[in-house]
């Protein structure tokens, strides 16, 4: 178990280094003149060259890369090229926002898909068909559209929840929850659809088995059978789907943050990428890959708990 954890963590760290390195090299070929962006349109070419030299951009790519790799591995993510704020500070400001809506969406997907997936598996007929049709629909509607409609209808027209902005949990738990509700719902749509369908399918497989038939012959209620006996055996494929969806949630957060005017990691990353602010982009990439690695590790552990057959020795 400990060996398994260490091996997975080492593989995860390697993945972070590889993804960050690839990002570093790709950023070099975006074609935008960073130094010119920083000094502005009115500056002379000499000033732009001086700025490039200051940032070390006149050195060969290989030298810059290993220089960057060294400082990053020592734990220093550097400073923004544009406003000189340390990258770690920017990330610490944005992370609570993004993590709140991503984990909100994850929790929402898990809960809703357990309820809908179980009911659809138990009640063949119109309910099942409705759930399946809605799942296909929810999966194919673009996330930004859902976000826009939610923001317009629930927040602007009905005024039930705030349309924009984020309230930190420390300031007010209730306001925090209100501020992340709509973004989380918008983000959860696709993941919920996929997980519900997977759970419905694996649930149907388990419900056919003789041990469930044995429980039914004893007259136990559906709820008891599902929650005490079936769910744990039907969950592993759904957990896998949900952990794969998580990567999609990270991407989806970028759009949802834009729609709801949240200053999270997603909006930080997009503006930094457009400007060519390499330290910020790299910081975002490193943190996001790390989170994905950790979430997948948790999913693997959950899988082992749910299904003793795959438990890592």
């Amino acid at each position: 178990m400990v060996v398994f954890l260490i091996r997975r963590l080492l593989a995860g760290i390697l993945l972070v280094i590889l993804v960050a390195s690839a990002t570093y090299i790709m950023l070099n070929y975006t074609g935008s003149d960073v130094a010119r962006n920083i000094v502005g349109e009115t500056a002379t070419p000499e000033q732009a060259l001086a700025k490039a030299a200051e940032l070390g951009l006149n050195r060969p790519l290989g030298v810059r890369y290993f220089d960057w790799l060294g400082t990053t591995l020592s734990g220093d993510l550097g400073k923004s090229w544009f406003n000189n704020v340390p990258v770690s500070t920017t990330l610490l400001n944005g992370l609570p926002v993004t993590l709140s809506i991503i984990f909100g969406a994850l929790l929402l997907s898990a809960l809703v898909s357990v309820v809908l997936g179980s009911l659809a598996a138990l009640r063949a007929g119109w309910f099942d068909k409705t759930v399946q049709a809605s799942a296909v629909l929810a999966d194919s509607i673009p996330g930004f559209l859902v976000a826009l409609v939610l923001a317009m209808v629930v927040a602007v027209n009905l005024g039930w929840l705030p349309a924009t902005g984020f309230v930190p949990f420390q300031r007010s738990a209730v306001e925090w929850l209100r501020s992340i509700t709509l973004p989380s719902i918008a983000l959860a749509f696709g993941a919920t659809a996929a997980t519900t369908q997977q759970l419905r399918g694996s649930m149907l497989d388990v419900l056919k088995l003789d041990y469930v038939r044995t429980l039914r012959s004893r007259g136990l209620s559906d709820g008891r059978i599902v929650f005490k006996h079936v769910l744990r055996n039907a969950a592993p494929p759904a957990v896998t789907v949900l952990s794969l969806q998580f990567i999609g949630l990270v991407g989806g957060a970028v759009i949802v943050e834009k729609v709801f005017g949240l200053r999270g990691i997603g909006s930080i990353a997009t503006s930094a990428a457009v400007q060519g602010d390499a330290p910020v982009v790299l910081g975002v990439v490193i943190v996001m890959v790390l989170i994905v690695v950790v979430v997948n590790l948790i999913a693997d552990l959950a899988y082992g708990w749910l299904n003793p057959k795959v438990r890592a020795e």
């Binding site: 003789d210 044995t214 012959s217």
Partner: protein, 301 residues
Amino acid sequence: MIAAVEAPEESHNGSEVPLLSIEDVTVQYPSKKWRSPDFLALKGVSLDIRAGETVGLVGESGSGKTTLGRAVLGLAPVTTGRIRYDGQVISAMNRKQRRTLSDEIQVVFQDPYTSLNPALTVLDILTEPLLTAGTGRAQAEQRVKDLLEQVHLPRDASNRLPREFSGGQRQRIAIARALCRDPRLIVCDEPVSALDLSNQSRVLDLFIEIQERTGVSYLFVTHDLSVVRYISHRVAVMYKGEIIETGDAAKVTTQPKEAYTQKLLLAAPVPDPARQASRRAARQKFSAKLHVAGPFESPAS
């Protein structure tokens, strides 16, 4: 509660009230295709099982024998007719009422690989019915120890998962689960068909041993005539949803009256090539004479 133990030799002399009585039961499944007729899985089946008795239910695949077992367990919808257990009509019970029967009627299924929850340890599998019924944990765990002994499994089996056991051992766990609330009737749906021959006879002996000790009745569904001959007091032969012959086990399995039963008997292979060849010839002659569709149309399940 009535004492469960009754001497088996007295119980099938036909004079007393049966423990289970199936009266003219029909099970009809609505057709899945549009405008095609509904499927009649059982057509007016009647059968009695007395306390301490084993009734073997034989027939080819699709003859309705499994459906009959499920109807007794409340897993198949009884369309007409009724099933009475100990005088009480159980065929129209809802799930909640059915719960009160769970210490009376139990089940052992064919496939020991799907009949045990793979996520639970043997201890959890065996204590679950007891804890659900309100037994205390310490008492339930003591009961599991006794049960494991009764089905000849090692005591340390309780902390292991089903996957750590062989098919025969898993079937013993399933039998222990069926026994844990001292039922008076166990529906056995092909309980030895998935086991190899040496395990088959050991598990069959276990069934007989348990019956001799507890006086439990069995409705023993199987397609295997030698199994049914070995374990049953009486045998009922099913064909296309009907019981076509009932009688003493030795008689039905050696000198059947009905042509179909004779054919079923001839279909069972014997471990002697010369005799098997002559039986095959007899069976073919027989099939030519007979217009009923035989047990060779579909492979045995």
